[in-house]
Symmetry: C2
Subunit: 382 residues, 2 copies
């Protein structure tokens, strides 16, 4: 006897092994036992099974639980003041002189207590480690899976302005070992960019990550082409993220390395960028595209995954099926969790969303769909 049987639903399994658009099963049913999916199929195929709870869903659509594979959700303060100053005519230089920009978030995050960070991230380091601890606490207190990444090289703190090497050394010799030892991160990330860190610095960081058994990911080719995609491929990275300025050489390298391209339309929108990621090249090389919020106080202050589905379609011209795959099956792969989550498939965790829509494309069509009617995490309504 199963724990639950969801029935009378249409299922966008997003499983590439299920034929047809969205891997859809019409008039389907899902068996759940011990937090996992034990059977998925047409309703008639599951008719003989019994469950403690049989739940007819009245024709609703079920998708895998949405996976936001690139979010900087843990931060102190927000940057609404700076947003306002800029729209009132202040220049970036004036804002930076007044203490704004990413370093203002670094400062606010340093000043915040762990509890404050957890509290803010609930409906919203410095130690990077404190942020990872906040992420872990969030995963323990809320019905959400957290896959934490150590963003070791993002912005150079001002006190290291004249000692750049010392900061990189600290990331390599202190942050990575500490995060690995405490089991606080499963991957290491960096911002490879003129205003971030150089390919050589990233290479040294990624080498250290490998030595500590951590996978890597990279913020690459957002504002210019630094050949970050190829560098990430060299290290067998899970993903390269942003990619507005990626070229065919980098995308070919990503394809050969089996990487995921993570597209971040919220940052493109908020920064009013004009250069879009090379979606056609990614398609041609068969690189799976994930879509994520990039939630952060400076360049993508959004909390809505469904709005990112809209923006992926409207701004980047993904098809609704590509966009939804980008927040399910391919997002799971970008986190190295493709065996556990991302599709409605027998054996995977029972992480599901139930939507009152007429077809899956509606999730992308509404400009910010208000969200699922029900969320199920590891078999439990949340």
């Amino acid at each position: 006897m199963w724990d639950r049987l969801l029935t009378g639903c249409n299922i966008a399994t997003m499983d590439p092994n299920v034929p047809g658009a969205f891997g859809a099963i019409l008039d389907g049913a899902i068996g759940i036992q011990d937090g996992r999916i034990v059977r998925v199929g047409r309703r008639v195929e599951l008719a003989g099974y019994r469950a403690k709870s049989v739940e007819p869903l009245g024709g609703a659509w079920v998708t895998p639980g949405l996976v936001d594979c690139h979010t900087h959700l843990i931060f102190g303060g927000n940057r609404a003041g700076e947003f306002e100053q800029r729209l009132n005519g202040a220049s970036y230089q004036e804002i930076a002189r007044a203490g704004g920009g990413i370093l203002s978030s670094v400062k606010a995050t340093r000043l915040a207590s762990l509890d404050e960070l957890v509290e803010q991230a609930r409906p919203d380091t410095m130690s990077e480690l404190k942020m990872l601890e906040a992420a872990r606490a969030l995963g323990e207190s809320e019905a959400v899976r957290i896959s934490p990444t150590l963003l070791a090289l993002h912005a150079l703190p001002p006190e290291y302005a004249d000692r750049r090497d010392a900061f990189v050394e600290m990331a390599i010799e202190d942050m990575i070992p500490a995060a690995a030892e405490a089991g606080l991160a499963t991957a290491v990330d960096a911002f490879c960019e003129g205003i971030g860190f150089s390919p050589d610095e990233v290479r040294a960081l990624f080498t250290a990550a490998g030595e500590h058994g951590l996978r890597v990911k990279l913020h690459a080719e957002q504002l210019s082409n630094s050949e970050g995609a190829a560098l990430a491929a060299e290290f067998g990275a899970l993903s390269a993220d942003h990619l507005e300025h990626a070229d065919e050489a980098g995308i070919g390298a990503m394809a050969r390395a089996g990487m995921v391209a993570v597209l971040l339309p919220g940052a493109y929108y908020a920064l009013r960028e004009e250069r879009k990621p090379p979606v056609e090249l990614l398609r041609r090389h068969g690189v799976p595209m994930a879509v994520a919020t990039d939630c952060n106080p400076g360049t993508s202050p959004t909390l809505s995954p469904t709005l990112m589905l809209s923006m992926a379609c409207t701004l980047f011209r993904l098809t609704p099926e590509e966009a939804l795959a980008g927040m399910t099956v391919h997002a799971a792969k970008a986190l190295g969790l493709e065996r556990e989550i991302g599709t409605v498939t027998t054996g995977k965790a029972a992480d599901l969303c139930v939507w009152r829509v007429s077809r899956p494309a509606e999730l992308c069509y509404w400009v910010g769909h208000p969200g699922p009617e029900r969320r199920i995490v590891a078999g439990v309504d949340s």
Copy 2:
């Protein structure tokens, strides 16, 4: 003794008579009696008053209730299928041949029952009159004020393709008198555009509206300049809406007529327009700018007023104060309701939103703020 005293809040009154940005009152209080605001001021100024219910708000920000002054909320079906076809590569012509486009919404709306229309619009003609009845029913069943407009000339139904004049005549001789007599609309609107209706047709419609005591509004200069803004000014219109292609002559006429410019960033986003409304010209001529969702199934399928605040700032470069004025004080004026709603002012209806934010600009900063913590309509929590 008042009914309610909200206290310990910061108030963005949006009242032009209150000095300073957002007409803000810090550490303020609001007295409410019989659904209306009876006193607004600093907390210490209201300390001597008594109320049946005294409610400390713990430093939250209070704004006027948001006013969405341009929405086509009542419609049958949605156009997610067409959205998907287009992203999958179908041309507009192919979609139209397959029965898509606005006429598919007209058809779905004609087929829907009144109850279905009300039901759809709740979380989300033909006859145009049936839509107005649905709007009225929505206002009666939900805690929301409805200010209904008869959009008499929007798209020519296919059965009138060869009898254009007969349709305009029906709008003038049947629809306007019927709507006026039943008290179903307070204003009459039209779509003045090459693909809509001509200035002469609109002029005839507006003349009839005036004869029946109805104000007018106009969808003007969205896709091209048809001199609709000046035409609307000629008839003392409440507003001209869209305005991407408006020129200085039209804007000057609007200023002299005391009209409001209604900006609709959701349609600009969904249609991937490149031409923005002339915000600088509107500022220079002192034309008040409202901001609205334009919620409709074809060109702006959005339900989020706060997302429009973000888009007004990010896409159109309004300041946060301008954007919030656009969904409060100026939106009220665009409906002719500026004496009743739109600011937190003694004597007006107690329509209020309570927000857990650090400053009003946060409502525009988040890319789709999830909405107020509390809504108060006519003095009652909703």
